[in-house]
Symmetry: C2
């Protein structure tokens, strides 16, 4: 659209993008209140008022950062649309394989982007406008999509005996807590849980545990 100022636009988007990434790190590590806009700006060599220039307020920055990260999650979880198709048209075995794949993807994403679940936990411990917004806008679509699939897998005897309303928190907790608490996990276990080796062990363990009667993959 705008032909001139291409260089300037690139720079503008660039600083915004870098501020978003820095914000995710700070918000994830310290929570909304604990994170300071000075520290976020400093991470990218900018000054604190630039945050109010590029975003209206600390809260606007938080919203933009969360939108940014959930968009990333949606890309990584593209298989979910696949799941939806499978739910209505295909056999339960294909659904089970796809669900197992979704678990693996989610574990990998939680390991690579702990900020998402860190932010969710920081916000979810007390009611706030941010929590209500995040829940309705980003969490509910995932919850509503996964729940009926789990019910079907349970009826087929493939899934572990966990109620479909509780499953969301069992899965999110079992998959993400070690990455959310990675600073503690490093102290406690002596391992680096985010290596591909450990992520794979973790993901396969969850798949086998949550889908104990997953058929052998044939194809």
């Amino acid at each position: 659209m705008k032909q001139p100022k291409a260089r300037a636009r690139r720079t503008r988007e660039d600083i915004r993008e870098r501020l978003l990434e820095a914000a995710l790190l700070e918000f994830g590590a310290k929570g909304f209140q604990g994170a300071s806009t000075r520290a976020i700006a400093k991470r990218v060599g900018a000054h604190q008022p630039q945050i109010n220039y590029h975003f209206d307020s600390k809260e606007s920055l938080w919203i933009a950062a969360v939108d940014h990260l959930f968009a990333h999650l949606t890309r990584a979880m593209q298989g979910l649309e696949l799941l939806q198709k499978l739910d209505t048209s295909s056999g339960v075995n294909e659904l089970a394989f796809a669900f197992a794949d979704m678990i693996r993807r989610f574990v990998r994403f939680a390991a690579e982007h702990p900020q998402l679940n860190q932010i969710m936990v920081h916000e979810a411990t007390s009611e706030s406008g941010r929590l209500a917004w995040m829940t309705e806008r980003h969490v509910r679509p995932l919850y509503d999509r996964v729940r009926p699939l789990w019910r079907r897998l349970r009826k087929a005897g493939i899934a572990a005996p966990i109620d479909d309303r509780l499953l969301h928190y069992v899965l999110v907790g079992a998959a993400s807590t070690i990455y959310v608490n990675a600073p503690e996990a490093r102290l406690l276990t002596g391992i680096e849980p985010t290596t591909t080796r450990w992520v794979k062990i973790h993901a396969e363990g969850l798949v086998s545990t949550l889908l104990p009667n997953l058929p052998r993959e044939t194809k």
Copy 2:
């Protein structure tokens, strides 16, 4: 020991106790930085400087509150000492029953005292002196005690195929996330997860899932 001032002592301990409980609620909901000493004092009808009088500083209050809550957990988990004995002397089936009981107790505690896991998560997302202290003093004893038991249960084919170093976070996450995030869970699921009915469903689901080959209880 001290005979006079019995009344005064009772009052003093009383206000300290109430400040600790209020501190747990605030620290759990908002994290260390997000919680304000003014809000904690206000919860019990006290003034903010009383916190510095009864405890030296905000950090001292936090330490005292965390000690208080872990002492409570230890009481609720008394079965752990039982587990230790079972590990060396008794059969693996008795160990499995005791482990299942421990899972049930832990789920119940997490539901009744979400502050514990809320505080752990708030702190565990970034390194700090508070995190190192809490990990070594309170978390490691539990971790070190449970890990060998889980190994034995896995070798016996009773436990789900989850590595014993990862199990700690899988169990803590699967058991506590719904209570840590209860404000979100209420919005999302429409259920009140802390009722005894749902806590029981949750606990039995985890026992069946994590110990899929638990023998039928005979005695």
